[in-house]
């Protein structure tokens, strides 16, 4: 149930993020919207790996290595999300820097102002 909820929310976040990114013409707002979509993706990925009634994939006293297979949830999506988050922040930082420089060039954050290249 939680997994479904989280997943649905994740998808919704992606859509909201996309909508924001595709309709807002302000560069910074587009970037903000993309971070929301990224969060949504992360949520979906983690939700996919969730298994009801199991614990985090860390072995300790309560989860001995021997019966880990029956006790823990799928660790792989979590590993993937870690990577995805870091990549996401890298891209966001980069986009922000671009936005800054674009603003420096045209004194505007309106994406419709950057149409020198076309056709």
């Amino acid at each position: 149930m939680i997994a479904y909820l989280a997943m649905a929310t994740g998808f919704l976040l992606i859509l909201i993020g996309f909508y924001g990114a595709l309709t807002n013409r302000n560069l910074l707002r587009m970037i903000v919207a993309f971070t929301i979509a990224d969060s949504g993706v992360n949520l979906v990925i983690v939700a996919v790996g969730y298994m009801r009634g199991r614990t985090a994939p860390i072995l300790d006293a309560t989860v001995p290595a021997a019966d880990a297979a029956a006790r823990i949830i799928d660790p792989v999506p979590q590993a993937l999300v870690l990577t995805a988050i870091v990549i996401g922040v890298g891209v966001t930082a980069l986009m922000l820097a671009y936005a800054y420089r674009l603003y420096e060039k045209k004194r505007s954050l309106d994406i419709a102002k950057f149409m020198d290249l076309k056709w």
Partner: protein
């Protein structure tokens, strides 16, 4: 061999190491970068060598000491080795080409370059889907960074647009990956593929959707049309050396990623790949048409090429093992060419296509340019050609003709705009700025050129290995032609001597190998070529570029008659087309004409290719390469289609009506000694093709229509309209060109008669037309050279100044008009005898009409140039240059000889044709030639006419022995005195009454039709490209829209 992981490790280590260097030590940083890239390249090369030469087995590389699917693994196999080699080499050479930019931006930029190259290699090497995602992100981010190397400040916005799009892509990819993982329990691509076998056919929807998302994400990296505006902006604004990477390396890597992904998707997704690929190929090529900016044009072309390869990957189900041969062939050709072109564009200051005229005066760079274009278009002997060939064969065999047609159409459009560009470079005004000669960049370009030719050699070897063919590039005639590239520094006279010796020598070496029919063509192509080349002795200086082009054409023609199978035939056909294109392009104003020549010729060539493919597909042969003669085994319903395609293809070369509009300009604007080559000799290649076609296929019926009858009509109409158009020309060379159209119509007609004498007549025209058209073109060319104009009405009265040219023209027109006793009469005589044997009477009537019309333009030719009033400004003209006159005199002798003893050429052919048409041959008893209907004694005619003429001439001399030459104006002129030569020389609009009566027949319908076709293509393209608004957000919307549309289509299907 070094573990392929070292490619990644080395790049990263070097990139991190750069951080330790001081910002100021840029030289050192650059050196580190080059060493690292070199090392990476060496690893790939080492592997590629091992796979190619030592037959090494593919190696799986495990990381973390754990076997897949539990840890990420990489694979180094044959394709990986080649592809990483492409990537690394492009990276290395681009690093050379953008040395200045790298040094200006410092170590960070170099690190990014290293990481980018590594990322592309990673995409190729990895077998893990999520790892693929990571490498893609690395590639995307480093691309966004490297765009900054450009000195074009619009690059910044292009980078941002790319980042937006890559965000969208990565969301789709991640969602796809996680659901695919959930469905299959693995992230390993091979593991997923195995699992998919169990999942997909049952249509487990979630997995199919997950795959769809992954697939679309990776396809989006291929910049599919129309969701690719962002990519074009990058191509246009990035540093050209980076664009080279973006086109060659990124394209390569993404394609291989899609290829890997298709392993998972299986056969069900192949049509989608094909569909997207072919839409991209055709769409992008069309949009490139109205493009005037070089780098953007190359961008469109890159997109198109990648699309084509994607389409090929999508045909894996039918291509089977050939997929990699074809896709790789297209890919390496694309990569080398595109990288080379981008590096080249870095040397050029202007961004307009016309700015490439700066290359002129740098023969090496022009050669590089030409090499890249030929590589791209897939002309022999480059890999794309082999790929195109096999692809056509399989597609036709599988009945995927629509796809094949779309591919060929796209390729034709591509060739059109690429060679238009080449035309600009050769013909347009040279811009003020010289090209920069940065040694590293030039080196990169040169290496690409060498790589291109090496690939040609390699693919030739591979094709030889796979299909048992001899290597095209090593064919003696081609090698000989290419040798002139190396000898181009020699003076023209020396090269000319070599060329003539080569042609004659080749004939001497091989003449025993031909049957009589081929022997005649061989003589025309080699010895005939040698005679025309005599005229080239009149050229001074080095004449850069002439000999490679001319000899390429001759090589193609020689290879054409030596070809016994379809592959050699087609390759030769393309070679002679390219060679002649370069040759024609040399004319002063021939840019548009050379282009239309090329487009028509390639269009024709593609039809031929389709014809061969269709034939091969219908079971004549398991391979496309088959003995041409076995075309005869074709049966209904395919045979007539094959016939139609091949016939139209060949008729494009002979300029049959409707397909003729390229000819007048191309022949007229060519150089003096080139016109006879392309008219007198080159046209015969088309006739040869038709001969071969009819010899092997004979009559064919399509929907009850006898196709040879159709040809008969086309021939007759061509003869009529060609001749009609000729009489209205004011330009002497154009007149001759239109006349050639008419003459080819006669020959076509003769062939289509499908009887013994018809063919003999065609052959007679082949010989005659070669002789007199070469002669006339040389004569007229010589005159034009001296008078500085080709407009006939500006000449006049040149007979006394240029008597030898006059004699040549006189003999030429007597022969051509068919007046006895010269050789043209023989053609007419055979013609009459031939038509008596056939039932097709209506087209003959048209031909009857065109006969006397020829007389009109011929008279006009000689009258307006040589007779009438001499112009004041021409009074001091000299005879045409010695070396232009020499071949003309040879032709005069040949014509007379052929007129008296046509048997020397025709007798053996006549016998040879008995195997095709045992009936209706000629009887050659003594000097008398007898047919079923009539007889003809050329020697007697010559003697009788000669005697009568000499007798009367003697008589006139006797009664009028004191005749004195009077001044030109000393004429009886109805109560007026002549005023000036210009007003007294009746020359302009000579046949005005004819225009009044029949001018409606020469409305330029064909020209208008083709203009409308190209015009609407351009208009459509120009309209469609407005779609690329330049707004990054719109591009992202388009991408999402693209995904949705494909989704809907895929669901619909």
């Amino acid at each position: 061999m070094v573990n392929a992981l070292f490619i990644i490790a080395a790049a990263l280590a070097a990139a991190f190491l750069l951080g330790l260097l001081k910002e100021q030590w840029r030289g050192a940083a650059y050196a580190v970068t080059l060493v690292a890239l070199g090392f990476m390249t060496w690893i790939s090369a080492d592997w590629a060598w091992a796979f190619a030469m030592n037959g090494a087995a593919p190696v799986d590389i495990f990381t973390a000491g754990t076997e897949p699917p539990f840890a990420i693994n990489l694979r180094m196999g044959r394709p990986e080795a080649v592809l990483t080699l492409i990537v690394n080499l492009t990276g290395l050479l681009s690093a050379l080409a953008m040395k200045d930019a790298l040094l200006a931006l410092g170590r960070r930029a170099m690190a990014v370059l290293l990481v980018a190259t590594m990322a592309f290699c990673g995409i190729i090497l990895t077998r893990d889907i999520f790892n693929l995602f990571v490498f893609f992100e690395l590639a995307a981010i480093s691309t966004a960074g490297l765009i900054l190397l450009s000195d074009d400040d619009r690059a910044l916005s292009a980078g941002f647009k790319y980042l937006i799009v890559s965000q969208v892509i990565s969301v789709f990819l991640l969602i796809g990956i996680i659901f695919a993982y959930h469905a299959t329990g693995t992230l390993n691509i091979d593991g997923m593929a195995d699992a998919a076998q169990a999942l997909l056919p049952g249509g487990m929807q979630a997995f199919a959707l997950a795959f769809f998302l992954m697939f679309m994400a990776l396809v989006a990296e291929l910049k599919p049309f129309p969701a690719n505006g962002w990519a074009l902006d990058i191509y246009e604004s990035a540093h050209p050396a980076y664009s080279a990477i973006f086109s060659a390396a990124a394209g390569t890597a993404s394609l291989y990623a899609v290829d890997k992904l298709l392993l998972i998707g299986g056969a069900a997704w192949l049509p989608a790949a094909t569909g997207i690929g072919i839409v991209t190929f055709v769409g992008a090529n069309l949009l490139a048409l109205p493009q005037t900016k070089d780098r953007r044009l190359l961008g469109y072309s890159s997109v198109a090429q990648i699309g084509l390869i994607l389409a090929v990957l999508g045909q894996r189900d039918v291509l089977g093992d050939l997929t990699s041969f074809i896709a790789l062939g297209l890919l390496v050709a694309h990569s080398v060419a595109k990288a080379g072109l981008y590096w080249l564009s870095g040397l050029i200051a202007g961004r307009e296509l016309t700015a490439w005229a700066a290359l002129r005066g740098h023969p090496l760079m022009v050669f590089a340019f030409a090499t890249f274009l030929c590589l791209l278009v897939g002309l022999p002997p480059f890999p794309g050609f082999y790929a195109k060939w096999e692809l056509a064969r399989v597609l036709a065999a599988e009945g995927r003709l629509a796809l094949l047609a779309a591919i060929l159409f796209g390729a034709l459009v591509e060739a059109g705009y690429l060679f238009r560009w080449f035309g600009h470079a050769i013909k347009r005004d040279k811009p003020a700025e010289e090209i920069s000669c940065a040694p590293f960049s030039v080196a990169a370009v040169c290496i690409a050129v060498v790589a291109g030719w090496a690939l040609g050699l390699l693919w030739g070897e591979m094709a030889g290995f796979l299909f048992g063919r001899s290597n095209l590039l090593l064919a003696l005639p081609l090698l000989f032609a290419l040798a002139f590239l190396l000898l181009d520094f020699l003076p023209a006279w020396l090269k000319n001597t070599l060329a003539i010796a080569g042609l004659a020598g080749f004939f001497a070496l091989t003449w025993t190998e031909y049957d009589p029919l081929r022997l005649i063509f061989a003589i025309i192509f080699t010895l005939g070529g040698a005679i025309v080349l005599l005229a080239s002795f009149s050229a001074h200086g080095r004449r850069i570029g002439f000999y490679p082009a001319a000899m390429l054409m001759y090589a193609g023609m020689v290879m054409l008659i030596r070809a016994t199978d379809t592959f050699d035939f087609f390759a030769a056909w393309e070679l002679l087309t390219v060679g002649s294109y370069f040759l024609i392009l040399r004319g002063k104003h021939s840019e548009p004409h050379a282009l239309s020549y090329l487009v028509f010729s390639l269009g024709g060539a593609f039809l031929i290719l389709m014809g061969f493919a269709l034939a091969a597909g219908s079971g004549v042969s398991p391979r496309l390469t088959f003995d041409i003669a076995s075309l005869s085994q074709l049966a209904q319903p395919v045979a007539p289609w094959v016939f139609l395609l091949l016939a139209i293809g060949f008729m494009t070369k002979t300029a049959a009506i409707g397909l003729h509009i390229w000819l007048p300009g191309a022949h007229a604007e060519a150089e003096t000694d080139v016109s006879p080559m392309v008219s007198g000799i080159l046209l015969k290649a088309g006739l040869y093709g038709l001969f071969v076609l009819l010899m092997s296929m004979g009559k064919q019926q399509l929907y009850g229509v006898e196709l040879t009858t159709l040809m008969l009509w086309i021939g007759a109409l061509t003869a009529l309209l060609g001749n009609l158009m000729a009489i209205f020309q004011e330009d002497a060379k154009r007149l001759l060109a239109y006349s050639s159209i008419g003459q080819m119509g006669y020959a076509l007609f003769g062939l289509a008669l499908m009887n013994h004498l018809g063919w003999l007549m065609a052959l007679m025209f082949v010989i005659n037309h070669y002789i007199y058209k070469s002669m006339l073109f040389l004569a007229v060319g010589g005159v034009a050279k001296r008078t500085g104009t080709r407009a006939m009405y500006q000449m006049g009265g040149l007979i006394t100044l240029m008597p030898l040219s006059f004699i040549a023209v006189l003999i030429g027109i007597i022969a051509m008009s068919g007046v006895p006793p010269l050789s043209g009469f023989g053609g007419r005589w055979i013609f009459y005898n031939a038509i008596l044997d056939t039932d097709q009477r209506l087209p003959m009537i048209i031909l009857f009409f065109s006969g006397p019309i020829a007389f009109l333009y011929l008279f006009r030719l000689i009258h307006t140039i040589f007779l009438g009033q001499l112009k004041d400004e021409h009074r001091k003209l000299k005879e045409a240059p010695f070396w232009v006159v020499v071949p003309q005199m040879i032709y005069v002798v040949l014509l007379l000889a052929f007129a008296v003893v046509p048997g020397i050429a025709l007798r053996r052919v006549d016998e040879y044709m008995n195997q095709f048409f045992p009936e209706g041959g000629l009887d050659w008893s003594g000097l008398l030639i007898t047919s079923n209907y009539g007889y003809w004694n050329p020697v007697a005619i010559m003697i009788i006419v000669g005697c009568i003429f000499m007798t009367l001439f003697g008589w006139l001399l006797f009664v009028n022995r004191r005749a004195q030459k009077v001044k030109q104006f000393n004429i009886v002129f109805a109560a007026e005195r002549p005023y000036r030569p210009e007003t007294t020389h009746f020359a302009w609009n000579f046949f005005a009454p004819y225009r009044k009566a029949l001018g409606f027949l020469v409305q330029p319908f064909a020209t208008r039709f083709w203009d409308a076709v190209t015009g609407s293509l351009h208009a459509a393209a120009d309209f469609t490209r407005r779609f690329y608004t330049g707004n990054g957000q719109t591009y992202a919307i388009q991408l999402v829209g693209f995904v949705v549309v494909v989704f809907l289509l895929a669901r619909g299907i």
